[in-house]
């Protein structure tokens, strides 16, 4: 799922942190700036890769293969963000960040990479595009925030684009998981059956269905949280009303 909501609490905390005395030290700030710049660049590479592949092929089918490696690299790299929260240089919840990043990594590796047959699906392009645009905006937002020089345009984009990108990403993700189901069932991918020495079983097919169902309660909560944050952050630009 989109990491937009996680970023929100980060961003708002970032705004508040720039007013308070505490926050990451100078070394941590330098590191975070480098991290966020590298991530912005990485997702720009993916964006450019998508555009170039589209222009070269003349169609938008099967573009996944042209950006497969940078996608895996930079999305997996986001795991560092959990560490940032755990160590305390980013004032966000470890659990929330962990959940967001792990769900992305799950989709990248445990679904798209693992089930070859879905890699040519258009739904993959749908979520990859959503992720790419979201992440470019998000990481540049953090970069500028850390440098205390946030252009309003970036802030506006971060709190507005999600309105379209978030449902777009969720749709792409759900369709991709759904497309993977028959292959998982047929091959018994990542599944363990009884009997075995440790008396345990795991059905990946059922697990994927449960994951899809979990979107139903989770997506609206995160989406409306983002909408509320948007109202708070963009609502009144003059007075800095108390941001969570």
């Amino acid at each position: 799922m989109s990491a937009a909501a996680q970023g929100t609490s980060k961003a708002t905390h970032g705004d508040v942190a720039s007013k308070k005395k505490k926050g990451p030290g100078a070394l941590a700030t330098a590191y975070l700036v480098i991290y966020n710049v590298v991530m912005t660049a990485g997702w720009l590479v993916i964006a450019v890769g998508l555009v170039r592949a589209y222009l070269a092929r003349g169609s938008y089918h099967g573009l996944y293969y042209s950006i497969e490696k940078p996608l895996k690299f930079f999305q997996t790299g986001a795991l560092l963000e959990i560490l940032h929260c755990a160590v305390g240089i980013v004032p966000s919840s470890v659990v929330l960040t962990g959940f967001q990043v792990l769900s992305r990594v799950f989709l990248t590796w445990a679904v798209t990479h693992s089930v070859r047959e879905v890699q040519s699906e258009d739904s993959v392009l749908l979520f990859v595009t959503a992720w790419t645009v979201t992440e470019i905006i998000r990481y540049s937002f953090y970069t500028f925030s850390l440098l205390n020089h946030l252009p309003y345009l970036i802030k506006w984009a971060r709190y507005t684009f999600f309105i379209l990108l978030y449902p777009m990403g969720v749709t792409g993700e759900l369709l991709t998981i759904y497309a993977a189901l028959p292959y998982v069932q047929k091959t018994g991918l990542y599944s363990v059956t009884l009997p075995n020495k440790y008396n345990f079983s795991f059905d990946y097919y059922t697990f994927l269905i449960l994951v899809m169902i979990s979107y139903i309660p989770l997506f609206p909560q995160l989406y409306f949280h983002m909408l509320r944050q948007r109202k708070k952050v963009l609502g009144r630009t003059e007075d800095y009303s108390k941001v969570e």
């Binding site: 009884l194 009997p195 075995n196 020495k197 440790y198 008396n199 345990f200 079983s201």
Partner: protein, 328 residues
Amino acid sequence: MVTIVLPPVTLRRQASPMSRTIFFEVEVLDAKTREQLCFLDKVEPHSTIGDIKSLFYKLYPNWYPARQVLTLDPKGKSLRDEEILQSLPVGTTATMYFKDLGPQLGWTTVFFAENIGPLLIYLLFYFRVPYIYSDSYAFTSSPHKVVTTACVCHTFHYLKRLIETIFVHRFSHGSMPLRTIVKNCLYYWGFSAWLAYYINHPLYTPPSYGELQVHYAILLFVICELGNFSIHLSLSHLRGDRCRDRRFPVPSKNPFTWMFFFVSCPNHTYEVGTWVSFSVMTQCLPVAVFTLLGFIQMTIWAKGKHRAYIREFKDYPAVRVAIIPLIL
């Protein structure tokens, strides 16, 4: 020389200590909306927060004292029931803020609910009630002796807990919100269903080292259950003498309590041992997962208790650690 002892004077009060009792006025506002919920006048200065909660309860019969949180500051820490009005940093008119914790249940009810579920649910799986496994297995029994042994141990463990809840544990006045109880019950009940499913499954595989493994596991199980029970008894006796000073638990003549030499929370130590023994007995991965999660949770509790003991008792034994002797 005559020594005159004067009663302690609260500096904030304007009246002299020699005059007649000054009554306090207490105003209770809603912490969120700031609207005045009640105004109590003629409150005795030596009233406790608990007394005020009782008075408040009379006006609002829905909000029994256990679900009330009163604070001096809307965002502040909640005031303890034992605190006395006149020792608080307030004038003769005190303003307090009220928060509702939601429906609460006492500890006995909580423990009962958490433990009756696993007991009964496991039995449903043991007796292979229809719709759990395929129809041909309904009401059949497993050919493996260890499956029955495991059922006896699991049932005994939860019966023991229920008996302790009723007869042994002395709970503090505290309570738990309903939502937390529902969450806890889901956790305990869900896990017991998950592990019972595999142990009583028609395709269950008995332990690799056979009877030897099971017998050692039973031995460890019995030792740990006896140990856990001994500790619970010892702790409840500690609480029994309320009029005495607070003491920390110490080893007694019962050898099972000698674990107190090494750890602050031997009841948790023995509990982990019980579940390790159950994991070995059944050689079932879900049981091991449950054991691991329980170990993590109990370690967190034990470390908290250990720190609290150290803070409260200056002569607390240095060799003791929280839960695993000499290690953790």
